[in-house]
């Protein structure tokens, strides 16, 4: 588990021990990045479809949003060391804490998303449903991107140094997964916007990941090799295949379902890759020490 050969003995610090502490978050948090992404981007897609008069697409997207956010809450609570104290998240509002900002966004988004879905499915309270869909649609992009800031706002090189690209990666991944979900849930004639969004989201997801790897330079290792690297390659394959399938044969329902599943798998694995890479980066003392030494040498 010790990193590659280094130029001198002090590059790996004190007996090769990590300088940083690895995160204590469980993989349910990576799963939340996915479900939250689906929820956030789906609500925006649902509201846009509502405005465009595409009710069937709006219904499936708003439903996906509510389902995504319904799963997200419990995932976040079970990861706490003291789950019974989850309401302490709303004890203060701190712009310096992306988790605090996210908690407040979610507590506005979740009821709006649920209300919008409930109204779309039952047909009751149409005006309230529309307002709720609008609120959720506007908050959706924040739900989809704040998680990128959350991981970037740490001392871990593979996360922190990617802080310019991670929000775009997470937004694109959310778009691809929301489009994939809508593609699978919506009858073909009404799924046109989902097909187009799938291609845009997937293309940006692949591009953002590449840009992130380039930016990270000497600390990009975890995204290229090891378990996070394997996950990254698998995610890339799923996302590319899903987008291609949706583009070429997305007008056949079974193919659309398969394409949607592939896009969701790609997004889910992307989140796990980023999540995993943070742990590997934190465990590597050279990743912490190397860039800091260069920075200090450069004055």
């Amino acid at each position: 588990m010790r990193p590659a050969p280094v130029t001198d003995e002090t590059a790996t610090g004190y007996y090769g021990n990590p300088v940083l502490k690895a995160p204590v978050w469980k993989p349910v948090i990576a799963l939340y990045f996915f479900t939250g992404g689906v929820a956030g981007a789906s609500s925006t897609l649902g509201f846009a479809a509502l405005l465009a008069g595409n009710r069937r697409l709006a219904r499936s997207a708003l439903l996906a949003s509510a389902a995504g956010i319904a799963v997200s809450g419990p995932l976040l609570v079970v990861d706490l060391g003291r789950p019974a104290r989850f309401l302490n998240m709303l004890r203060v509002a701190k712009p310096t804490s992306p988790m605090s900002v996210g908690s407040w966004i979610l507590s506005a988004f979740a009821p709006a998303s649920m209300l919008a879905a409930g109204s779309a499915v039952t047909g009751r309270l149409p005006r309230t449903g529309r307002v709720a869909a609008g609120a959720a649609g506007v908050l959706g992009p924040a739900v989809a991107t704040y998680t990128a800031v959350l991981v970037a706002d740490t001392a871990i090189p593979a996360w922190h140094d990617a802080h310019r690209e991670l929000p775009y990666l997470f937004a694109a991944s959310a778009a691809a997964s929301a489009a994939g979900t809508a593609l699978a849930l919506t009858p073909v004639p009404d799924a046109g916007p989902a097909r187009r969004l799938a291609v845009m989201g997937a293309a940006l997801e692949l591009a953002a990941f590449r840009a992130m790897e380039r930016r990270l330079g000497e600390v990009a290792g975890p995204y290229k090799e090891g378990r996070a690297g394997t996950l990254a390659r698998a995610a890339e394959a799923c996302t590319a295949a899903g987008a291609a399938l949706g583009l070429v044969a997305g007008r056949r329902r079974p193919v659309a379902v398969a394409a949607g599943a592939l896009l969701c798998a790609g997004s889910l694995i992307t989140r796990h890759s980023v999540f995993r890479a943070g742990f590997e980066s934190a465990a590597d003392p050279a990743a912490t020490i190397g860039p800091q030494r260069s920075r200090r040498a450069a004055g």
């Binding site: 940083l20 405005l51 996360w159």
Partner: protein, 279 residues
């Protein structure tokens, strides 16, 4: 109120670990395992939820360079003091470095910045402390710390770290580790005074030919705005397992929020473009 802190002068640390023991005793910190790590006399390993003081033992080959003359300790000639022996074991041998690490109580503390509950707060002594009745164990502070200090105690679910003996400070008492230190390697006091004292000590060492001596964390312009608990080191920080140029992650937070805003707008644009065309 005056800012209080620690000055850890590693040049006179003898590696007795009285600080580790005193800290555990006073703060009722659980044991951190009965381990044999094979890393010199260090079987503690690193700072963590159950280790608030950690004595590092560095064994480094001397290399070809001539050993520095024995530095005077506290103004007197060191003679054959253990500290001088530790510094000077001959050019062919191994050089021993010992250092008692602790939470840095940063001026710009990432753990405090990212804490979503407000459990981490800055005290009237300008130290950084976790309120255990508020912490919900979200764990955000753990990867945010550039020094890997704070950690979650799994048996308990909450995060723990050095409080700079907040309870003792409130009673005008010296923190347990500094009180127990037999060589005054750990000094406690108002930060301004400690910095003056450290500058004096550095001058003495430099004059004695210990050119590698330097202060770590005594500069207000560093990436965390200076440490409340700073050090005099005899080698590069990374040799002791300390980051050479730590920066508080939240310094880049405005740029991160701007990137997120850009990405959020891009998402809206993509959805609008996807829905705008006739179906």
């Amino acid at each position: 109120m005056t800012r209080m802190g620690f000055f850890t002068d590693t040049s006179i640390c003898i590696g007795c670990k009285a600080c580790e023991v005193a800290c555990k005793e006073w703060n009722d910190v659980p044991d951190d395992g009965l381990n044999f790590l094979g890393t010199s006399y260090d079987n503690t390993g690193a700072l963590g939820a159950d280790t608030w003081r950690h004595v590092a033992f560095v064994e480094r080959p001397r290399g070809g360079s001539a050993p520095p003359s024995s530095p005077p300790v506290n103004g007197q000639d060191a003679g054959s003091s253990p500290a001088a022996d530790a510094l000077d074991t001959g050019s062919a041998g191994v050089r021993w470095l010992m250092s008692s690490d602790v939470c840095k109580h940063c001026t710009h503390a990432a753990c405090l910045d990212v804490c979503p509950t407000g459990a981490l707060f800055r005290t009237e002594f300008d130290t950084v402390v976790v309120q255990q009745d508020v912490c919900n164990g979200c764990g955000y502070c753990v990867p945010a710390c550039p020094f890997g200090v704070i950690d979650k105690r799994e048996s308990d679910g909450r995060v723990w770290k050095c409080t700079l003996c907040y309870d003792r400070l409130k009673s005008d008492m010296t923190p347990a580790c500094a009180k127990a230190c037999p060589t005054q390697s750990i000094q406690f006091g108002p930060l301004d005074e400690l910095r003056d004292r450290a500058a004096g000590r550095l001058g003495v060492l430099r004059e004695a030919g210990v050119s590698e001596a330097h202060l770590y964390g005594a500069d207000d312009n560093d990436g965390v705005g200076g440490f409340g608990a700073f050090f005099l080191l005899l080698d590069a920080p990374e040799v002791y397992g300390l980051p050479p140029d730590p920066v508080v992650t939240t310094r880049d937070l405005p740029r991160m929020w701007r990137a997120a805003a850009g990405a959020a707008l891009a998402l809206v644009g993509a959805v609008a473009a996807a829905c705008a065309r006739p179906r």
